[in-house]
């Protein structure tokens, strides 16, 4: 249950070995866009050597390459590493099928990066794949493909559609990274994603982690309200009651319980369930 996923280039040792001091709930070691073709093998070797020899206190995902030959080399390099999952760029039902050939004895968790227009018409096929754990909106590449610019308005439809697909299949939903260095704009954007219902947002710089964590942390008012709802439900055993003039029923109680579970997770430093 992560709020923030911080991208770290796989070929930069000082970022790799500091991955658990940035306060991100999860990190994504990148083998794709932030690593030049000439450094791909270096990134694999650095990541493999680091994760094989050092324990880390943060959930680690690896973004592999979309190119078939590079993807195969990536998967071979990370096969035995203690990672939480794989981020699959340019995800499609066809690319997801690659994971059927992986070791059946090892759980395979894939977060599908949705960054092409065609992927928005393939959610059903992808969501039912055995390895799929969540959908992750890749807004920058998507806007490039659409000819648009990354802003609240242009993101509303992709965000809504992705979120709906994720929720329909009980999958995790991760929002696109914000590319501006304007922290106030990032905070606004992260709060919009959280208000829509996203579970988390990606960060492309350590400075973005704290604003994202804050945006996805429920307010003290909402926490107190949830505590009172759950307390009253547990006291009366009732699934339907009134609190401060508001009618409370099963969905509201379940929502309050989920919110409190998230808060406990965030305050305890996270757990390994995405």
């Amino acid at each position: 249950m992560a709020r923030s996923f911080l991208f770290i280039p796989g070929n930069v040792p000082r970022m790799l070995q500091n991955m658990d001091v940035f306060e991100a709930d999860a990190v994504i070691i990148d083998f794709e866009d932030s690593v030049s073709v000439s450094e791909k093998e270096d990134a694999r070797l650095l990541t493999e050597r680091f994760l094989s020899n050092h324990e880390v206190s943060v959930d680690v995902y690896i973004r592999i390459n979309a190119d078939k030959a590079l993807m195969k080399a990536d998967l071979n390099a990370i096969d035995s590493l203690p990672i939480a999952g794989i981020v699959l760029p340019k995800a499609s039902p066809e690319t997801l099928n690659v994971f059927e050939f992986l070791n059946e004895n090892k759980p395979c968790h894939v977060i599908a990066l949705i960054e092409t227009p065609i992927a928005f018409f393939k959610f059903e096929e992808m969501a039912t794949h055995a390895c799929i754990k969540g959908f992750f909106l890749g807004g920058v590449d998507l806007m490039h493909a659409l000819g648009g610019t990354l802003c609240s308005q242009s993101l509303l439809y992709p965000r809504s559609k992705l979120l709906m697909a994720a929720r329909a299949h009980n999958l995790y939903a991760i929002d696109t990274p914000w590319t501006s260095t304007d922290e106030a704009a990032l905070t606004r954007d992260a709060k919009e994603a959280a208000a829509l219902g996203f579970d988390a947002k990606a960060a492309i710089h350590p400075n973005q982690v704290h604003p994202i964590n804050q945006a996805f942390m429920p307010s003290q008012t909402r926490i107190e309200e949830a505590k009172r709802i759950v307390a009253m439900h547990e006291k009366n055993g009732s699934m339907r009651f009134s609190l401060d003039g508001q009618m409370i029923d099963k969905p509201v109680i379940e929502h309050a319980k989920t919110l409190l579970k998230k808060v406990r997770t965030y305050q305890s430093g996270g757990e390994n369930d995405v």
Binding site: P13, Q17, V37, E41, L46, F50, H54, D67, A73
Partner: protein, 87 residues
């Protein structure tokens, strides 16, 4: 012309390694040489031996890289030197 391969960077916590045809010389320049020269030399000689690399001279310019980074950069250099790096 003799092949020369350079990998890595001079950023903090990283190192730059150059391999070229030679006689097995190892030259190390490190910001932590006073304390770790012998350790780094043992490490690079072990990796060279493991990968059966002979007849090369190695130059390592270290910016405080940990063992895993030196080892990874050296293996990358060896693969490239041998011509079998995969993308």
């Amino acid at each position: 012309m003799a092949k020369t391969i350079t990998v890595g960077s001079l950023e903090s916590s990283d190192c730059m390694i150059t391999l070229k045809e030679g006689t097995g010389n190892v030259h190390i320049k490190s910001v932590v040489a006073a304390a770790f020269y012998d350790h780094i030399e043992t490490l690079v000689r072990r990796v060279l031996k493991t990968h059966e690399v002979r007849n090369v001279d190695l130059t390592l310019e270290d910016r405080g890289a940990l063992d895993y980074a030196i080892e990874a950069r050296l293996i990358a250099a060896i693969k490239r030197y041998k011509g079998d790096a995969n993308g």
